[in-house]
């Protein structure tokens, strides 16, 4: 591999980011009707998770099969706030206890549990959306990485955590809304989020946040920290012998992945209008890994395309041929592992990058920089 420069972004990456921005902020809103645009917004929330996985798995070598937990925690925090806002005493006056969420009333709860109370405040909610999953990830990370649990064991244990989380949410119906999740969300601080206009705005907010996260991820990758992550993935012992505390770096990147996933989850709740355990468990968590794998586990832009392409295929195929979709998804898992371990980004590198490279070389010789190229965006 060619040496990487310390610059934040190479020319090629900048173009890749610009193309993605054009796609998300201009092309999609122009060609899609509001319903489809909302759907694409939903796909993009998964891109946050895939982005986190690129850092954890692609760069750090830590495969987490429990990203759904963080996605869900972020989503649930947001849903709790929205639910409390929707459950004003006027709206819920037919309940035996007005002023609490409807599912609590159905489960014979007579007062709001104490840990629901802070979610009356929007500021607290926004902080909690990121902080709750990060603290959770931090606890898991510290416990596991200090003990040098890694690789396959880490994957299995995070998967078990995803299973525990789902069983817990479904079992504690009175506090969490059970298997239906938290539904019937209406307004965000008095602003109706169910209208087409609101959904449009949320789509752009979502896109903006996604780009913020993309830049953060790019920054992490380009920093010294990013180099250590890659060194750790390839030769963990050598990094340890060089005097770095491997566990701290792993914990950090795991927390960063959790934070991205949580932001995605919160945006998911806002755009889709509900949150349920079906986005938390084992199956959604492992599907999130496939978004990342299809896009290319090493490429942060690839992650976005991966989430878009797989989810779009899922919607298209499961609308018309539900049986084929599962077969296709299964085949996709196998194909991406056996034939294209670098995903779409790898295809781009192999087939498109060599064609466009001369163009960039020309540009570069003009700007007279010695920047080396790195994984760019896979083309559609």
């Amino acid at each position: 591999m060619k040496p990487q420069s310390n610059r934040f972004m190479s020319m090629q990456e900048m173009v890749g980011f610009a193309i993605l921005a054009l796609l998300i902020f201009v092309i999609f809103p122009l060609i899609l009707d509001p319903f489809r645009l909302n759907l694409f917004g939903k796909y993009l929330t998964y891109a946050f998770v895939a982005l986190g996985l690129v850092l954890c798995w692609g760069a750090g070598g830590i495969l987490s099969l429990g990203q759904g937990v963080f996605f869900g925690l972020g989503g649930y925090c947001m849903a709790m706030f929205l639910k409390l806002e929707a459950s004003t005493p006027e709206n819920t006056k037919i309940q035996s206890t007005p002023g609490i969420p409807d599912f609590m009333d159905w489960n014979q709860l007579t007062e709001l549990p104490f840990w629901w109370q802070p979610f009356h405040s929007f500021t607290f909610t926004v902080i909690a959306v990121v902080l709750v999953p990060v603290i959770f990830a931090f606890i898991i990370g510290v416990a596991m990485f200090r003990r040098r649990v890694g690789g396959v064991y880490f994957a299995i244990i995070t998967q078990a955590i995803a299973a525990i989380m789902t069983i817990l949410i479904i079992g504690q119906q009175g506090y969490t809304g059970g298997v239906n999740g938290i539904t019937d969300l209406r307004t965000l601080m008095g602003w109706d989020i169910r209208t087409d206009e609101a959904k449009n705005i949320l789509y752009f907010v979502n896109g903006g946040l996604l780009f913020a996260c993309l830049f953060a991820a790019q920054y992490i990758r380009r920093s010294k920290l990013g180099r250590i992550l890659i060194a750790m993935r390839d030769q963990e012992d050598r990094v340890r012998f060089s005097g770095y505390d491997v566990a701290d770096f792993k914990t950090f990147v795991f927390c960063a992945g959790a934070a991205f996933a949580a932001i995605g989850g919160a945006m998911f709740t806002l755009q889709v209008g509900f949150m349920s355990p079906s986005f938390v468990g084992i199956v959604p968590s492992i599907e999130m890994v496939i978004f990342c794998a299809v896009g290319g586990r090493l490429s942060i832009l690839g992650a976005v395309y991966g989430a878009l392409v797989v989810n779009w295929a899922k919607t298209t195929f499961s609308e018309s041929f539900p049986e084929l979709w599962l077969l296709g998804l299964g085949a996709l898992f196998i194909a991406v592992v056996l034939a294209f371990p670098k995903g779409l980004a790898g295809l781009y590198d192999d087939f498109i990058a060599p064609r466009v490279k001369p163009l960039f070389d020309k540009l570069r010789s003009k700007s007279n920089s010695k920047d080396a190229d790195f994984v760019g965006a896979p083309a559609e």
Partner: protein
Amino acid sequence: MFADYSSQELLAIFAMQGFAGLILFSVFVLMALGLAIIFGQMGVINMAHGEFMILGAYVTYMLSNFFEAYLPDLFGIYFFIAMICAFIASGALGLFVEWALIRHLYKRPLDTLLATWGLSLILQQIYRSVFGAREVGVTIPDWMMGSLPLTDMIEVPINGIFVMVLAVSISIAVYLMMFRSSWGKQVRAVVQNRVMAGAVGINTEWTDRLTFGIGCGVAGVAGSAFTMIGSTGPTAGQLYIVDTFLVVVFGGAASLLGTIASAFSISQAQSIMEFFLSGSMAKVLTLLTVVGILMIRPQGLFALKLRK
């Protein structure tokens, strides 16, 4: 929570729940044995293990229908034939999967995990297309129905005892295969030092394939036994896969004894707690405890001391 029951009732509850736990234990052991062979010995994560088990269950279901329709005289013993067929079917599929998929991925364990997950999705969809989405049950021969009364308060179901006997015999068979046969010796040699094992003339490639096949075959037998106590659906395998992996990891991946010990403790804890708490909370607490212990002792209960 104990105050509402008399001491005699409490004893009966513990005995009955303990027995229910023993049945769960047998299922765990049967499932985990195959996984312990594949994961413990080869280090391969087989997420499709549950689906191999379900294949065994469907083979049993088909044979049950076949015997009922064409050979009703032999119906009493069809189950033993079904077990052998289940072993062969799952084992053959295992050999094929190893050849087509697993052998390319030995150096990339995390990728194996994803690929076998894909395989499990495909198998589930095939089962759904062939056998329908609804759960199917087998007809149990008469001699396996009913229950044995031990005291006037405690009864044990005969099919439960049968599954337990099966679990014990298969455990013994696996033990003999692993530690008393030349094949077992080769497997252990390959696990400990692949290059050296190859150098002394062991065909490591074939050993791997056979190990994977036998692990899958054992899963098939587990599925066959599973039909005796529950019904089978296309996604039934997925329900157990996490539990089973935890059992194997908790026991210490390479140790058969550890697998059995951890299956025992997990199943007993779960079934006794189930009586006092709701089923879901019992499961949450058990899994949390296991995960907690694994965080403190990642190598599991019985760790094999190996120089890496």
